[in-house]
Symmetry: C2
Subunit: 355 residues, 2 copies
């Protein structure tokens, strides 16, 4: 796991030339748009809902507003009335959910060794799987009139060294934004200078993009509820609710009392404490590493002065009133209103750096 | 149409660092692998055959040889025995056939004007369509154990100025080859410095890649038969067979007498004459511009000292003995044996530069 930006990143962060500011980077959690427990299955309903929400957030308008669909592929319902909302240069970054994980873990792509035929095959297979999902997301958003451009980190020439980002030029991403497009990236298999190849996760990509593009805020749309975290005066912190043993028993059940959780990062040291502590205390119930990486990367982003909102998009367990509530809360996060007005009843986690 | 490399290309052509030589660049004609007259329909049989042939050409072996399939997506027959042939750093470049043309021509993406909502939508729609085909080709080749990597010119940061290539860094393509992969590119919608956007055709990409990567030879797999071209002493040339008016009547019927056609380019002037003459005389029966561009680009490649073999892959009209023959002849071209041994009975067009 990366805890610090390496010098290459710190250098390049100062050189990106943006023709217009980026409002938001959205990380679509794989589990929120795919059926996590089914092999390569997209949750079409979730994908459609998130596409609709993103359009609403971008246009600041209602769902009934006319727009120009942009997926002119062999599907019903192409060519809607030409009416386009404004484009805000929003930036999407994706992880893969039930796509890519099997291929990557089966072949051990993250551990390198391209000279082994099985790793090489796994590298190819992983890229096929994650680009397949990315393609479907690009299409779903285009159908909502969002001018999406699929971009693979591998094709963009991004590479790592000892599994940390070594070269990740975002100039083409910036150019696409400058031309009014919404780039859609994804976690990818990439070349690594020290071990031939590895996996570059969507969370790490999100943090890198945030460092380079300096958006107003970052939203992580996730499927599992986050714990309430208490930060103490001395900078240490702990999970208050639900207790870890309870989470293990009940999965990730949500408590009606669980409202706004603001994780205030007060200084650089706190981030270090946070990262190492999270690894020890939360990893137990989070075998995919999702929670650990997410909080660590969110903390790194917050350290740059960029608010991070982690919000449930689609509750997997509770299906009643909370579903509507979660949808509403994610839309509020995407709309960017939380930065100026954080209502008491907003359900989600804010990671914010207070100097 | 481009007739000369611009200074940017000439410069970058000298700076590519290849860790191993490239044997061959293959241009899969869209019409050879898609159903040209049906909207976004892949010819699965052709795609499977061409994938098999490419594997045979790369391994130099028979079709029964065991290999490690690399498309581990939701399909039957994944995970074959781990046995991989050698990888020769072959390079593929694609055009789109029935993919992308509709979206591009409908919206006029090639003429620029991204500030118009309909052009912008067409840009997005074109990219969705061509990347969709590219993805399927990557998968088909991966199923044959070819370690393919899909790479979009747009994502690679390629751009044009006045519709000519302005910036097209192939270093990432070269790196992928150096790591033992077979990059698969495609004709793409790209950003243009002078008119916002345009279409970069597969033929132009092929020529650019040839100039940069300097392969031993280039193969164009096409679906329509090429005319017999006679080159005269003074460098002028004409189409001997079939006569142009007959081609208009009969489509592109093949004559049994049509064997090897070697177009010898003797000097720089000839190429200029060739380009301008072709535009006038052949364009009549070739509304897609395919023939004009192909011969012009092939001539540009030949000028670099690289043999170009244009060969029918799948006859669309004649379905009897010629089909098997064409398949056999395309395999011979892909295998690279034509460079040293050009048999009398080989059916196709060679474009070769004789100083």
């Amino acid at each position: 796991m990366e805890e610090e930006m390496n010098p290459a990143e710190q250098h390049s962060a100062t050189t990106v030339n943006l023709s217009r500011p980026v409002r938001c980077i959205v990380k679509l959690g794989g589990a929120a748009i795919t059926c996590k427990n089914e092999f390569e299955k997209i949750n079409e309903e979730s994908l459609q809902t998130v596409s609709l929400q993103l359009r609403q957030a971008m246009t600041g308008g209602g769902s009934s507003r006319k727009f120009l669909g942009m997926d002119w592929s062999k599907r019903p319902g192409i060519f809607e009335a030409p009416c386009v909302g404004d484009d805000t240069g929003d930036q999407l970054d994706l992880d893969s959910g039930s796509f890519g994980h099997f291929q990557a873990s089966k072949s051990g792509v993250h551990k390198g060794g391209l000279n082994q035929p099985f790793v090489k095959a796994g590298f190819v297979a992983t890229r096929i799987s994650v680009t397949s999902l990315n393609h479907e997301i690009v299409r779903a958003l285009a159908r909502e009139g969002i001018p999406t451009i699929g971009m693979s980190p591998f094709s963009c020439g991004w590479s790592t060294c000892k599994r940390n980002i070594a070269f990740a030029d975002v100039s083409m991403v910036a150019k696409a934004i400058g031309s009014g497009f919404v780039p859609v990236l994804h976690g990818d298999a990439v070349l690594d200078n020290s071990q031939d190849c590895t996996i570059l996760s969507g969370d790490v990509i999100t943090r890198h993009l945030a460092a380079e593009l300096k958006p107003e805020f970052v939203v992580f749309l996730v499927s599992t509820v986050h714990p309430e975290i208490s930060v103490r005066e001395d900078g240490s912190w702990s999970v208050v609710k639900p207790a870890l043993q309870d989470m293990n028993k009940q999965g990730c059940s949500v408590s009606p009392k669980l409202h706004v959780h603001i994780l205030i990062l007060e200084n650089k040291n706190l981030i270090r404490i946070l990262s190492s502590t999270v690894e020890i205390t939360i990893a137990a119930h989070d075998t995919t590493g999702g929670m650990v990486t997410k909080i660590s990367e969110a903390a790194m982003i917050a350290k740059l002065g960029i608010d991070v909102y982690i919000v449930k998009f689609r509750p997997l367990i509770l299906k009643r009133w909370t579903e509507q509530a979660a949808t509403d809360h994610s839309l509020r996060a995407l709309s960017g209103n939380l930065k100026v007005d954080m209502p008491e009843d907003w359900l989600g986690t804010v990671v914010r750096f207070v100097r």
